[in-house]
Amino acid sequence: MTTPKQSDEDKRTADVIVIGGGIHGCSAALHLVRRGVSVIVLEKDYVGRHASGVNAGGVRRLGRDLAEVPLAQASYEYWRDMPALVDDDCGYRATRYLKVARSESDMDAARQRVAELNARGFTHEDVIDQKTLRGFLPAAASHCVGALHVDGDGSALPFQTTQAFKRRAQKLGVVFHEETPVLDIQRRAGNWRVDTPIGAFEAPTVVNAAGAWGGVLAAKLGDDVPLKAHAPMLAITARMPPFATAVVGALSGALSFKQFENGTVLIGGGVRGRAFPDTNRTALDMKGMSQFLSTARDIFPIMKRANIVRTWAGIEGYTPDNLPIISAGREAGIVHAFGFSAHGFQLAPGVGEFVADLATGATPKLSLDAFNVSRFQQLGPA
């Protein structure tokens, strides 16, 4: 836990209060303080405790919803030089990201995808044939016929990254209060007053970056979002001989697969365990996990010999359309940035910039219409 300096600890007011010390809260705080805005971050556990710190670490533009592609591109510009932003390389390795095709219909889907992107002016994804795939991934099974591919996507270490954003923000003057849950929030004479066990904090603007807990907070602020908490699962193996440098997914069948430099292999793929956000607990579903493990084995026969040494899950908030909420709230002085639906890690460096725009009244350089909080209002609560 961070213990702020005595003078900082006493600070009860700021220009912006960020609720949630995940990677989006930390990124928003960093972008704000870089503009000279004073920020207090309130985190109920410790920074990077949940989805931000324990995700698969994919730094991926590949295969994103078309609405998200511009955000991912904007973030990519930051990823290319993370030391400039956070003074830490975040364990980022730009290699290549592949979604492997295991059938001709997979290949058709890949070609259609690239055509759609090209029509919108995006050229980062391409389709590679079997020969090229074998060049990139000699260990792939013979029934892998090609792949959707991005050169330059890769992976980073999520906890190290989230901590790096925090440390950089802190160095520039952001005050972090960890183990400080929000008990209540209400409008008080033009300010938002946020009550916590260590007292009240006040600011004219509040950023809701509370992840899986963001829906409850949004509801308190008059914005109904049918957010659901799930616990996407991951498994890691004992060290294996090096056989894959690229990060690998599948065009049919969910998979997130990468081998670290130390030889261990991380495997995930959308299958969810049970999440208990009230108690921070997750329960794993080993039967469910067998789905993405079989996909991994199907693409890499060498994985038959792998030993799983650990599995885990983080608590993440999902929206009905699996797109995040990056939006001003119904009430003045509220900005939401949550519900990233298990693909927010790569987006954080760029989204922080746009959240800082919304919080300071500047106009973001990209349209955020697809991420507006009001899009769920006709749906009602979950």
């Binding site: 836990m1 961070t2 410790y46 990077g48 405790r49 710190g53 324990v54 906890f159 190290q160 901590q163 440390r167 498994a235 890691i236 193996t237 004992a238 607990r281 329960a283 794993l284 080993m286 039967k287 996990m289 067998s290 789905q291 493990l293 079989s294 991994a296 084995r297 994985m303 038959k304 010999r305 792998a306 030993n307 799983i308 040494v309 650990r310 599995t311 885990w312």
Partner: protein, 461 residues
């Protein structure tokens, strides 16, 4: 096949629980990761004859009738079964013969026993260094013993194994006793309670005097240890009475007590508390060994160190608790049948406060003093690596794990968990209880991907 009670571990607690449950008509599945029943204390007991009886003594041989009775009853006993998960819904995942299975029962008894406390000194990971329990395993399973070994550390097991080695006619280079003299006064206040087991105290005295009579070198007043050697153990450097002394040997056996093996109980989500006297975590249990999750029971050393006889008594109590809960016996019968086990248990536990205090491992042997001493063996992280990570503000075991991978390897923290926790406590001036422990997750033992990937198809529940 369906079962009333699944018991994990076929040591004294697990076998005794299985016998009690089966005697009352319960359908019992007994899973054990070893090829034969017995656990650590009665390891390889079924094959033991006169020679073993001479070397290993009557306490060891007392396991024989227990194993025989377990075999005679209608208990589904599965050996070589690696249990890798127990869920809060009492679903047990285990592997045997390359096949992973899931099986659920209304009651599950965890009898996973103890493991040796880490002994993180410089060089403790070198080939040739072993924990004394492993040295005893060799003696029990294959009759092998290393000539001229050094035994270093503290606790009854250290002297027991050394004594067994001498009984086997094997010489010992030296016994380096790290028991702190400062423990004596606080321990003496627990002596009156311990006198109920005066026979055990005498037994310890007897081992010690026989070891002395054998002419084995005994070194005490020890403040620091380092294993000598670069690529393998070549001896032990001992700081005794303020001066360093080098003893040569290719075999160094370390021991400073045992702690509950809580990986499975933590991964199952049971509530645990820190035991400051035994310096370990133990699952919270009620008077029937029932844990914080309904239908899960913990018996034996896995719930707190009490020794073999206490484990047998707890196995019986847990089984009675489970039988009562399942309605297989009425509460009057349950209470009556538990009486003698409860009497045994209280007699066995009365000596623990004295032993725990007398043999409390010193701070300097629980948290290393040498910067390059390895703490996390799987990721090869030294004292300095871990301390540097704490210093940048990552002051919880799970933050540390996420950041530098300590505790993330195949051992799942068995070798580093307590050390990391106590190091953080020392560094941040908090209590070990406040610092907490790693969040543990299934599989608690490495599991072949192939087995897990096939789980869905082969699931027979």
């Amino acid at each position: 096949m369906s079962f009333d009670i699944i018991i994990i571990g076929a040591g004294p607690a697990g076998m005794s629980a299985a016998i009690t449950a089966s005697d009352s008509g319960a359908k019992v599945l007994l899973l054990d990761d070893q090829p034969t029943p017995g656990g650590q204390i009665y390891r390889a007991i079924e094959a033991a004859g006169d020679k073993q009886a001479n070397i290993l003594g009557p306490d060891y041989m007392a396991g024989k009738p227990l194993a025989e009775k377990m075999r005679a009853l209608n208990i589904e006993y599965v050996s070589d079964a690696s249990v890798w998960q127990v869920t809060d819904e009492r679903e047990v995942g285990y592997s045997t013969g390359g096949q992973a299975r899931l099986v659920t029962a209304p009651a599950v008894i965890l009898a996973t026993g103890a493991m040796e406390r880490p002994f993180p000194i410089k060089g403790w990971t070198l080939p040739g260094v072993m924990m004394a329990g492993a040295a005893q395993t060799m003696l029990k399973t294959s009759g092998l013993a290393a000539e001229g070994a050094i035994f270093a550390g503290c606790g009854p097991l250290l002297y027991l194994v050394a004594h067994q080695y001498l009984q086997a006619g094997v010489t010992i280079s030296a016994i380096v006793d790290t028991t702190a003299k400062a423990n004596r006064i606080p321990a003496l206040s627990h002596l009156p309670g311990a006198l109920k087991r005066w026979d055990l105290l005498l037994k310890g005295q007897k081992w010690q005097s026989e070891i002395r009579k054998s002419g084995t070198r005994i070194i005490d007043d020890v403040s620091a240890l380092r294993v000598l050697g670069e690529t393998k153990a070549e001896g032990l450097s001992v700081n005794t009475a303020g001066a360093w002394l080098d003893i040569k040997s290719e075999h160094v056996f370390l021991h400073q007590g045992v702690v509950p093996n809580v990986n499975l109980s933590f991964a199952a989500g049971l509530d645990h508390s820190w035991d400051e006297r035994q310096l370990c975590w133990r699952p919270d249990t009620d008077t029937w060994c029932g844990a914080s999750i309904d239908g899960i029971f913990v018996a034996g050393d896995g719930g707190g160190i009490g020794g073999g006889l206490a484990a047998r008594a707890e196995g019986e109590i847990a089984a009675l608790g489970a039988l009562g809960k399942l309605g297989l016996i009425d509460t009057t019968t349950r209470d009556a049948r538990a009486k003698s086990a409860r009497a045994t248990l209280s007699r066995e536990l009365c000596i623990r406060p004295f032993l725990d205090t007398w043999f409390r491992p010193s701070d300097s042997f629980r948290v290393p003093i040498d910067d390059d001493a390895i703490i996390c063996r799987c990721e090869e992280l030294s004292l300095k690596d871990i301390r540097d990570t704490i210093e940048i503000g990552l002051v919880g075991p799970n933050q540390l794990k996420s950041f530098c991978r300590a505790g993330m390897g195949p051992c799942q923290g068995r070798f580093c968990g307590l050390t990391v926790q106590e190091l953080i406590a020392k560094q941040t001036k908090r209590t070990a209880a406040d610092v907490g422990y790693y969040r543990l997750r299934p599989p608690i033992k490495p599991l072949r991907l192939e087995e897990l990937a096939n789980l869905q198809i082969d699931d027979d529940t």
